[in-house]
């Protein structure tokens, strides 16, 4: 029941936003819809904790702790971003950033597109997290790509179209490979009884009988899946679409893409990792995941060090964290899985917070380049400046923030498991990112004061920022027990206990 509600409400919000006339109505539809979705996802998490995995429609929908966590994170990000986007888009409309030559009717149409597509994007993500059938999961993933393409082209600039094109094509090719991997997985299971029915591609069924899957096919399937869903996650060397897409999309969309959509791509990888490790043993998929994870972390370091555009810096940072989480998945075991899940939760909060702060900065100073930010951010927008700096410190792993704990767990898992090289590289790359990010962002925030006028009151945006910031700080010190139980449950799904 909850699952159906989780699906229907975003669709309703999208349809409502499409048909209403006034901008305020669209905003209300979105925020209300996401608010209900958030409450429903909390209820779902509670249900999963109490009674184990939820299954509906003869196993078509399936939500265990992993799904519930991903759904909860998606819903929270969507809610915060929708409140933020109210203030953000109003400012854009007033300042003419939507396009100087657009009439007010056309601007409204643009806003309508945003407010209709975002709930559809969230709908696809939620559908994907609760779909049991791997093919349906793929279709939902493709739907997220299609829904977000027009979000990237929102501003209609030359660079937006280029970014959207790269996103579409690279994402399309990647998802085709993932589809091929899904087909091969289906073939691997075709010798199991009952594989002709719909349940033949069901993850829960395949996971149960994973040891009987055809080994050669699973090897090929996992490579294809890693290449395919890894493209969506932004792992190197398939990451080239990320900096462009994140810097061109409107900030709330970029926040959703970089935290919630990344989680979804990793979710798909995790599902297939579980199947493959139960079939072939954890070394084969683990080694591949470590390769791609460390490669992503390594590639992001030079690009962060020489970066001049702070939104692209955040994008490379996301690539870095995708690499971290992939490394954690590759390490596996109890510690690795726990580190992965904790990192996923913390990263979602911190990354979306960072993007929202960056949105504030870019709207006020009207530029994306470090060098053009005259005056300190602290002087012009004290709240944003402080929160930005804090979030940056958090995300690069400074204690006592939560990400330090998760990254520490991952490093411990590496050394415990005998992956010394992995641990060393992890620390090395982490240091590089630390230095680069701190250097650039710190310089931007704490530069010499200038005469830039301070920003006026921004209730919606600052409120959302504050909410996330509080959550980030609090979670560093105390995780509410149910949430921790949920994370532990998800980790148990991954490590197979």
């Amino acid at each position: 029941m909850l699952l159906i509600a989780l699906l229907l409400i975003p669709v309703a919000a999208s349809v409502a936003s499409f048909f209403v006339r006034r901008r305020e109505a669209m905003e209300v539809a979105n925020v209300a819809g996401f608010g209900i979705v958030f409450l429903a996802s909390v209820a779902l998490a509670a249900q999963v904790l109490a009674r184990g995995a939820v299954s509906l429609c003869n196993g078509f929908f399936y939500a265990d702790a992993l799904s519930a966590l991903v759904i909860l994170l998606t819903a929270s990000v969507a809610l915060v971003c929708s409140t933020y986007s109210i203030g953000y888009l109003r400012d854009d409309q007033q300042s003419g950033a939507l396009g100087d030559d657009l009439t007010s009717v056309e601007q409204l149409a643009l806003l309508r597109m945003y407010y209709s597509l975002t709930p559809l994007l969230v709908f696809s993500m939620l559908f994907m997290a609760m779909a049991n059938n791997l093919g349906v999961m793929w279709a939902a993933m493709e739907a997220t790509t299609l829904a977000s393409i027009f979000l990237v082209t929102f501003y209609g600039k030359v660079t937006s179209i280029e970014a959207a094109w790269k996103y579409a094509i690279i994402g399309g090719v990647g998802l085709s490979m993932a589809l091929f991997g899904t087909i091969v997985t289906y073939y691997a299971g075709h010798s199991l009884p009952g594989s002709d029915a719909l349940s033949g591609l069901n993850w829960s069924v395949l996971a149960q009988h994973a040891a009987q899957l055809d080994k050669t096919s699973m090897r090929l399937a996992f490579v294809l899946i890693l290449l395919g869903y890894g493209t969506k996650a932004g792992l190197a060397p398939m990451h080239t679409w990320k900096p462009d897409a994140y810097s061109e999309a409107p900030v709330p969309s970029a926040a959703i893409l970089s935290s919630a959509l990344l989680n979804c791509a990793l979710y798909c990888l995790i599902r297939f990792y579980i199947l493959t490790s139960r079939c072939l043993g954890p070394e084969y998929p683990g080694r591949l995941l470590l390769l791609f994870g460390l490669l992503s972390m390594g590639i992001s370091v030079p690009f962060i060090l020489v970066q001049q555009n702070y939104r692209r810096l955040l994008a490379y940072h996301t690539i870095d964290h995708a690499g971290i989480m992939t490394t954690a998945l590759g390490l596996g075991g109890v510690l690795g899985s726990l580190g992965l899940m904790l990192h996923m939760a913390f990263h979602t909060i911190a990354k979306s917070l960072l993007f929202l702060c960056a949105g504030n900065v870019s709207q006020h100073f009207r530029t994306d380049l470090f060098s053009r930010i005259k005056g300190s951010v602290i002087g012009a927008m004290p709240l944003t400046g402080v929160v930005f700096l804090m979030a940056m410190l958090a995300i690069i792993g400074m204690p006592p923030f939560s990400l330090f704990q998760s990254e520490f767990l991952i490093v411990r898992a590496a050394f415990d498991g005998g992956h010394v090289l992995t641990g060393v590289l992890f620390v090395l790359f982490g240091t590089g990112v630390f230095a680069g990010a701190l250097l650039h962002v710190g310089g931007m925030i704490l530069g010499p004061k200038s005469d830039a006028p301070p920003a006026g009151p921004r209730p919606w945006r600052d409120g959302s920022l504050l909410a996330l910031a509080v959550a980030l700080v609090v979670i560093g010190f105390w995780i509410p027990a149910p949430l921790f139980e949920l994370i532990r449950g998800a980790a148990r799904v991954v490590s197979g206990q």
Partner: protein, 224 residues
């Protein structure tokens, strides 16, 4: 009616159509005119639907008929019409200059077909009855050649068509490996293909408007 139920004949028919599909894919590589590209894609999808229907007939699997019919409607009728209208609106009938010249690309496609055969070999153990064994080799070749065409071509619309022919290869692989995926999955995939074609079509149109050309090698402002 007996000859029509003979597996051997079925295998021959499927092999024949798979070979035609492969020839069409190679013809797509050597083509220069965008409209012909679209029509070759339509013909290729038609043969794929026929292969699916043949497999459905010989295996008495009615749900594959539905997949074949849907493929017919979406990929043979809707998507080509969509793209032909787009080409008319954009008024492009220009030739496409690939990055690697045409004779060499045709030869590379031949080599990729060989790779496809080799990969397909590892899927079948001897003694396993399989209708459409050859179709898997063609499917993998289609996938590889489509991928190569995407890298090779510069016009945005041709890249989209190459992506769609890649998906054609995947459809054929699914049909020949496992006699199609569960119907819901096929529905989902086809729906996605349709929406993807529409979305990409709109995107191509906007590229043409913004850049005055469909040449994607001009999309290089975002670096670093």
């Amino acid at each position: 009616m007996t000859p029509f139920l003979d597996m051997q004949i079925g295998d021959r028919i499927i092999t024949l159509m798979a070979a035609l599909v492969l020839v069409l894919q190679i013809a797509m590589v050597s083509q220069r005119w965008i409209v012909v590209h679209i029509r070759i894609f339509a013909a290729q999808s038609f043969f794929l639907a026929m292969i699916a229907a043949t497999i459905a007939w010989f295996n008495h699997a009615p749900h594959i008929y539905i997949a074949a019919a849907l493929t017919l409607v979406v990929k043979v009728i809707l998507v080509p019409i969509l793209f032909e209208r787009l080409v008319e609106r954009m008024e492009i009938h220009e030739e496409i200059e690939p990055i690697v010249n045409v004779p060499l690309s045709v030869l590379i496609s031949g080599a990729l077909t060989l790779v496809g055969y080799v990969v397909a070999e590892s899927f079948y153990k001897p003694g396993e009855p399989g209708l459409g064994h050859n179709a898997l080799a063609v499917a993998i070749s289609l996938f590889l050649i489509g991928f190569f065409t995407m890298i090779n071509r510069r016009k945005a619309l041709t890249q989209v068509l190459a992506l769609l022919s890649l998906e054609n290869g995947l459809f054929l692989a699914a049909i020949s490996l496992t006699y199609g995926m569960p119907l819901i999955v096929e529905l989902g995939i086809l729906f996605d293909v349709l929406v993807a074609a529409m979305v990409l079509g709109i995107l191509v149109y906007r590229i043409r408007e913004t850049f005055e050309s469909m040449d994607v090698s001009r999309l290089r402002r975002l670096r670093g």
